[in-house]
């Protein structure tokens, strides 16, 4: 399937569409450049594996390395807790996203606004609409998705990828970060 069509065929995006993360270093550069990143993790991540390891481990590693606070929605929290990882907040996707559109909001810690929000694992059409909300109404926040499908409403997204390519890419992102 074309790399930059919406994963759901009919979710045709408007004129403004996500740039592609083709190589890990693009994502790494974007993450490093961000002053205040945040990661929002939906329940969809539970079923995915990155080269034999559950995706969640990869996200935890990323969060630790890049010091990115993680917001989990309801059903994902336990998975994190069971791995000894304490998410920064348990919050629904619409709640955290709505806060991100408020330029006055100083973040979970009350310090400063976020400038990068990484989304992964929400149901496709829910993530599509939420990213649309941010695209239009959170001009100060860039968004990135880590799903293996194209999310046109993000600022940066993976293309529609095979699981293998995607996993390699994600792994690369985490590994390179240390450099």
């Amino acid at each position: 399937m074309p790399m930059t069509d919406s994963w759901q065929t009919a979710e045709i995006p408007g004129p403004k569409k996500a740039s592609l993360i083709i190589k890990p270093d693009i994502a790494d550069a974007l993450i490093s450049r961000a002053k205040r990143p945040i990661m929002i993790v939906g329940h969809g991540i539970i079923e995915y594996e990155v080269e034999g390891k559950p995706l969640i481990d990869c996200l935890i590693a990323l969060s630790r390395k890049a010091k990115i606070p993680v917001v989990v929605s309801a059903s994902t929290n336990k998975e994190f807790l069971s791995r000894g990882f304490e998410p920064a907040a348990i919050m629904s996707a619409v709640e955290i996203s709505s806060r991100l559109t408020d330029p006055e909001w100083k973040g979970l810690d009350g310090k400063e606004s976020y400038d990068l929000a990484i989304f992964v694992g929400l149901p496709y059409s829910m993530q599509w609409t939420i990213l649309s909300g941010l695209k239009h109404f959170a001009p100060g926040v860039k968004t990135m998705t880590f799903d293996c499908v194209y999310h046109p409403n993000a600022s940066w997204s993976f293309p529609n990828s095979t699981i293998k390519d995607w996993a390699a890419n994600l792994k690369g992102i985490v590994e390179n970060l240390e450099d």
Binding site: Q8, H43, S73, S75, I90, S125, M126, T129
Partner: protein
């Protein structure tokens, strides 16, 4: 009663009593005034009458817009790109465009109910007379039409009294739709206020429809023990001729039942239904059978079981004619609103129509006379059933495998599936003879058929799924308590105190359509969980069916396990979609009957009461339609939050509160007039949950109200914390915002709560007598 003035001239009257010439009577307004309650401030509100109330709500629950499209395509200046801060050729901006789109949807939804209500009312007036008294619960229900009384300030006594109420609805609907015209309203909050208005008149329309049909058609009258009836594909006796009714407007279906009874054929024929007509026909005769919600339409028709299909209006797949033709079942369309291009045979004889059907020359007909529909449907079913032999179009196991082998694994099916189901994977398995993948899909499949349209190999994917799950379909033998209609005044009196005080932790209503993210079962599970926790659980529409489509460990469905009374731990099926009005009505009646707030034309005060005191929450887990949009809006204006599933983000905006902003949560203390912090309750007005777990925890939280007594708050918190611990893990991070005094802390959770509170710089705060209306200060009634 009528809002219109009447002026008429009678040239001459001759009677035994007197003789008049040129009598000219002018009557400013005819009202049959038997209602002693004085008129409130806002009878028959117009577009802006309740704007300031809406503004109060909307300043707390600011819309978070999620444009479903970056464009506007409403006029020929367009399409206009509205990305970010761009404006359309008419000057509109994205927030206004999104809310305008919501208003169009809400208008479509409200129009649908109101026009249905009008059709139904015309029908029952034609059959029962304009003077037929309204009777929704005999002496058990004094407040027969709480929404109509509240909104319109009138007290309908007969069917005829309902007509001017619908006049009002139609008038307001027209006004509201006009607002969406290019180059008119420009402010998103004004659009949202108008969405609320559409929701409110939608509720009026729904109430009129249901009280009309309950009164005239002898449906259960506020009966907590309404009969149980069969539910599920497996309950249909496929050896008999089978009639299928689909839609929302019950008269053709009741005419079928009547005709079967008159002819003595009822025992020989199965009357089965899908969607709300199914719910309402079981209110008419519990021997009718409900097949399932909207998502069952394709699978049931393709099974070949129905011999005749009778459709009316709303929630009827638009391709029913094609699907019916595939199984050689004649189709009868019965509504002016849904003609499907069929020849109008209303004026032909029953025999001629039946003969056309039987010969196969006619595959479908439009018949706009319910009684004739009854006769034609029965005669046709009897005649075609032996010929059709339940002609099915589902593939055999062998055919299924052959189809599966054609799959190229192109993924277009999955990319077309609203639930992103792993179809291609399942088909690959099936090609190797293993049907388990397809069988698993059955549970989550919405029956929308989009995968089939997308498949370039023309594989009838949905049919494959249904065929693979044939064992499951045969085992779909559930039951449902038929729609009881209104809540009795006595029930309200009994639960009013416990609800307002919080001893009953809340009313949770599972309503609306079947666009579920993971199939029907989650609705049943949620219902049972909340009933077990002694909430009052209400159901209606497709959700009422889903609620019954699951058996617990003991093999019982929710309706068998729990009572049908409006009481703690009851599961109360009110009826079809229009019966949703009884859920709103119950909230209103708590304010009116239990709390004795004046009801008549007194919208703001009652809404203020409900919002601050009645812990009701709506859950529309599969909300799909424009009607769901307007129904939800009607609840919002009353201050009742609504939770939807993940697809609900496609409604284009949420109404979310900001618990972290203390300034947002001030209320007036009615005793003192002071502005005091009331806490972030209910936190949201419209919320899309990602998963069932998230929904349940949120529902428990949203039942909280500023007015909760400590005992009540402790009860609600206990449920909230417990659900959170079980489903999410750990104590919720916001308990400190919800505990006002030490007495609020649930006893059994004291230690962990105190630990939590100590981490949050928590201080006790007083419990106000909350109101959002300055004029309610010092005006408490009944003091």
């Amino acid at each position: 009663m009528s809002r219109k003035s009447v002026n008429f001239t009678i040239k001459e009257i001759n009677s035994d009593l007197a003789q008049f010439r040129d009598l000219n009577i002018t009557i400013g307004s005819i009202t049959r005034e038997r209602w002693e309650e004085p008129m409130g401030p806002t009878p028959y509100p117009s577009l802006t009458t309740l704007r300031s109330w809406d503004q109060r709500l909307l300043s707390r629950y600011k819309p978070f817009y999620m444009p479903f499209c970056d464009l506007c395509c409403l006029c020929t200046y367009g399409k206009c790109d509205l990305t970010g801060t761009k404006k359309g050729a008419c000057g509109i901006s994205m927030p206004a465009q999104q809310s305008r789109t919501v208003l169009i949807a809400a208008c479509i939804g409200a129009a649908t109910h109101i026009s249905h209500s009008r059709d139904l009312l015309n029908h029952v007036i034609a059959t029962s007379g304009r003077d037929c008294p309204i009777n929704v619960g005999g002496t058990s229900v004094e407040v027969e039409a709480p929404i109509t009384r509240l909104v319109c300030g009138v007290k309908p006594e007969t069917l005829g009294d309902l007509e001017p109420v619908l006049d009002y609805c139609e008038n307001q609907l027209t006004q509201l739709l006009a607002v969406t015209h290019t180059g008119q309203e420009g402010n998103h909050l004004d659009f949202e206020s108008k969405v609320f208005h559409a929701g409110m008149i939608d509720h009026v329309g729904m109430e009129v429809a249901d009280i009309a049909q309950v009164s005239a058609l002898g449906f259960p009258k506020a009966d907590p023990e309404a009969p149980l009836c069969d539910l599920g594909l497996g309950t249909v006796d496929t050896k008999k001729p089978v009639i299928l009714v689909i839609g929302h407007n019950v008269p053709p279906a009741t005419a079928i039942i009547d005709h079967l009874k008159e002819t003595g054929l009822f025992p020989e024929v199965e009357v089965t239904g899908i969607c709300c007509t199914a719910l309402d026909v079981t209110r008419y005769s519990p021997r009718a059978k409900i097949v399932g919600p909207i998502s069952w339409q394709l699978r049931y028709i393709r099974s070949g079981v129905p011999d005749v299909i009778v459709i009316d209006e709303q929630c009827v797949r638009t391709d029913t004619l094609t699907e019916a033709a595939r199984i050689h079942a004649p189709l009868i369309a019965t509504s002016e609103k849904n003609c499907l291009g069929l020849p109008d045979m209303t004026d032909e004889t029953v025999d001629a129509i039946v003969a056309g059907f039987v010969s196969g020359k006619v595959t479908g007909a439009l018949i706009l006379d319910p009684e004739k529909v009854g006769e034609v449907a029965v005669a046709t079913a009897m005649a075609v059933a032996p010929k059709r032999k339940k002609h099915s179009v589902l593939p055999t196991k062998h055919q299924l495998g052959e189809w599966a082998k054609k799959c190229t694994q192109c993924m277009l099916c999955r990319r077309a599936c609203p639930n992103d189901l792993p179809i291609a994977q399942a088909i690959r398995l099936a090609a190797s003879g293993n049907l388990s993948g397809l069988d698993e899909l059955y549970d989550d499949c919405l029956g929308c058929g989009r995968c089939e349209s997308a498949c370039k190999q023309k594989i009838p994917i949905h049919s494959l799924i249904v065929a693979a799950a044939d064992k499951k379909t045969r085992e779909e033998t559930y039951c449902l308590r038929s729609g009881r209609g209104a809540i009795q005044d006595l029930e309200i009196r009994k639960v009013g105190g416990p609800i307002v005080l919080g001893e009953i932790p809340g009313i949770v209503a599972f309503v609306g359509c079947a666009n579920y993210p993971k199939g029907s079962r989650e609705v049943a599970e949620m219902c049972m969980e909340f009933a077990r926790r002694r909430y009052i659980v209400c159901t209606s529409g497709c959700s009422a069916m889903s609620a019954g489509m699951y058996r617990d460990e003991e093999g019982k469905t929710a309706y068998e396990r729990y009572s049908g009374a409006f009481e703690a731990g009851g599961i109360v099926n009110v009826g079809s979609c229009v019966a949703n009005s009884h859920i709103a009505g119950a909230a209103i009646k708590i304010a009116s009957i239990f709390a004795k707030r004046p009801l008549r034309g007194n919208y703001e005060e009652i809404a203020d009461y409900v919002y601050n005191r009645v812990g009701a929450v709506g859950v529309a887990w599969g909300a799909m339609s424009q009607k769901a949009a307007s129904i939800a809006a009607g609840f919002w204006r009353l201050g009742i939050p609504v939770v939807v599933g993940p697809h609900g983000t496609k409604y284009r905006r949420m109404l979310l509160g900001r618990a972290d902003k203390d300034a947002d949560w001030f209320v007036y203390d009615a005793r003192t007039g002071e502005k005091v912090y009331g806490g972030p309750v209910p936190e949201h007005l419209f919320f899309a949950a990602e998963t069932k777990e998230e929904a349940m925890v949120m529902v428990a939280k949203l039942t909280m109200r500023p007015n909760d007594t400590s005992r009540g708050r402790a009860n609600k918190l206990a449920n909230y914390i417990d659900l959170h611990k079980r489903l999410v893990g750990g104590i919720p991070q916001d308990v400190y915002r919800l505990v006002r005094t030490h007495a609020d802390i649930p006893l059994t959770m004291k230690d962990e709560c105190l630990l939590h509170l100590s981490g949050h710089d928590w201080k006790e705060s007083p419990i106000p007598d909350p109101t959002l209306l300055p004029r309610m200060v010092h005006q408490k009634r009944g003091d």
